[in-house]
């Protein structure tokens, strides 16, 4: 065990390189979407033989101005229980996932239902760079440079009907690819959901990449949600189904422990989780703890949606 850990640590040297290249590049090429052709060192990590292709994306103003967490930490410290409950398990086991070809089933209250190939759902020529804070309910946090597309732009394409009030998401659940499914840790498949106005918010994002390249499997390849004002578990990974509904969808953690995980799960330092005090967080890579901000610091973008709601009850 000890040996394996130190190996993982050493890998971080490669990643630091590609990270530096990435960050410099981002600064140099701000405005010009030409990352694609660049000879970025392919990062391999635990992917066995999966090489992560660089993705061309245009920079946006979504940037908290804090330096991103190291690529090594983002790709080797994960909660993705379908690949095991240890933080290092996903990086070790996720190579079994086959991210291509990938299709997403769209159903419920939409005018354009059907099974979409990933490339038909996400316009890979319209990708954006967005650097977001990530706050886990376990009281740790990261800064993550995602690549993807706004969720609203995808939903509009599917043409939600007027009765649609919620969006439900589902993660792949295939025992052959996901060894963690052997244990009933949660009621598989993993499901999550948003209110339609939350899903349509500017901040709600569908990521297909990380650090300028395709998403590593342990980070939820090939398509994952990113809702940075909510605790990390709301940002569902490896999405295979999107449904529009008129009733609030069931969500996995809420089913597992309703007293601990509500449907909204907005980052809120005033509402404690029975397991973790939510007032502070540890930024991965730092020793001490920082104060946690309401809505993870995104209150000006999302606060209005919850005006008048009792956030102690709707946790």
């Amino acid at each position: 065990m000890l040996i394996e850990r130190s190996e993982r640590w050493q890998q971080s040297e490669n990643s630091v390189t590609s990270e530096t290249i990435y960050l410099n590049r981002r600064r140099l090429l701000a405005g010009a979407a030409v990352v694609g052709a660049a000879a970025l060192a392919p990062s391999v990590f635990a992917q066995r033989d999966r090489v992560l292709k660089p993705l061309a994306a245009r920079p946006t103003s979504f940037d908290p101005g804090e330096s991103p967490t190291s690529e090594a930490a983002i790709t080797q410290y994960n909660n993705y229980y379908e690949f095991g409950t240890g933080k290092g398990d996903p990086a070790e086991n996720a190579w079994r996932l086959k991210p291509a070809p990938w299709s997403v089933k769209v159903d419920g209250l939409v005018d354009k239902p059907g099974t979409y190939a990933l490339e038909d759902l996400v316009d890979f020529n319209a990708l954006e760079d967005r650097i977001y804070r990530l706050r886990c309910v376990e009281a740790w946090s990261m800064i993550v440079p995602w690549v993807g597309i706004s969720l609203a732009s995808v939903l509009k394409k599917l043409e939600p009907q007027s009765g649609a009030k919620y969006v439900a998401f589902e993660t792949l659940a295939d025992r052959k690819q996901m060894p963690g499914l052997r244990w009933p840790v949660l009621d598989w498949p993993y499901t999550e959901g948003l209110r339609l106005d939350e899903a349509m918010n500017d901040l709600a994002f569908l990521a297909v990449g990380l650090y300028g390249k395709e998403l590593p499997s342990q980070n939820g390849a090939p398509l994952r949600l990113v809702v940075p004002w909510k605790y990390g578990f709301k940002s569902i990974k490896s999405i295979v189904r999107i449904s529009l509904t008129d009733t609030q969808p069931a969500t996995s953690w809420n089913i597992s422990a309703p007293r601990e995980y509500g449907f909204y799960s907005n980052v809120n330092p005033q509402v404690d989780h029975p397991r973790w005090s939510q007032r502070r967080e540890r930024r991965i890579g730092e020793f001490g703890r920082r104060e946690t901000a309401m809505f993870n610091g995104y209150g000006d973008l999302v606060g209005d949606m919850y005006a008048g709601m009792d956030l102690g009850k709707n946790y």
Binding site: S6, W9, Q76, W140, V185, S277, R282
Partner: protein, 220 residues
């Protein structure tokens, strides 16, 4: 068979040798996890590559918690093991193992109070009361204190063997609380704490069986 093998080999080591060589050896072995932890924090302190991972505080909380529970269960296994091989010799190690469990729970608390909470006493107290699994762990720790204090031969005399033994039966309750603490701490329905729960249950069943046999013998 394994048992006969053990019955034949184990008693052939004299108690004297076990005291002289066995004890220091077992002591050193049980210290290893703590040495590993201290060494890796030393490396981390100097920004050297180390085995603590990306969340060193979480790693040390969990590492010390795991070893507390392991030594606690190991101390409970000594008596059944000694009955199994029909030799009192393993009992020579029981106190040491129990004290190591206490040593590791002290490290566990130190890790949490110092490395994780950074001596923020207000936050800490709120945490202990608010988070039920910490309250449970804390209760287990408080029960462990009198056992560590009375672990000496002097205290056995002072209390009398009967009362001392009755007091030290507390360790079963501590084991149960430790396992509950672990199950509650993990999110969802996880297998690892249940493995510990299973081992504890086996030890309890053994204990109860022996107790029933004894009472049967007395009444019959």
């Amino acid at each position: 068979m394994e048992t006969t093998f053990l019955t034949h080999t184990m008693p052939s080591i004299s108690s004297k040798d076990l005291r002289r060589f066995g004890k220091p050896l077992v002591f050193a072995l049980m210290l290893l996890p703590a040495v590993w932890l201290a060494w890796n924090w030393w490396l981390a302190y100097g920004f050297q590559p180390n085995g603590l991972g990306f969340n060193p505080q979480e790693t040390s909380n969990r590492f010390t918690g795991d070893w507390t529970l392991r030594f606690l269960l190991l101390s409970l296994a000594v008596t059944p093991f000694s009955k199994l091989i029909r030799s009192p010799k393993p009992l020579l190690f029981r106190r040491m193992i129990g004290l190591f469990a206490f040593f590791y729970v002290t490290l566990h608390i130190t890790s949490y109070v110092w490395l994780d909470m950074l001596f923020d006493w207000v936050e800490l107290w709120a945490d202990v009361l608010k988070r039920i699994y910490i309250t449970v762990g804390f209760t287990a720790f408080l029960m462990l204190v009198p056992l560590a204090v009375t672990s000496t031969a002097g205290w056995v005399k002072r209390l009398g063997a009967k009362r001392w033994q009755r007091l030290h039966k507390l360790v079963y309750a501590i084991g149960i609380l430790g396992v509950i603490h672990f199950i509650m701490m993990r999110k969802g329905f996880q297998i690892e704490p249940l493995i510990y729960a299973g081992m504890l249950a086996a030890l309890l069943v053994f204990r109860v069986q022996k107790h029933l046999q004894k009472t049967k013998r007395i009444t019959g």
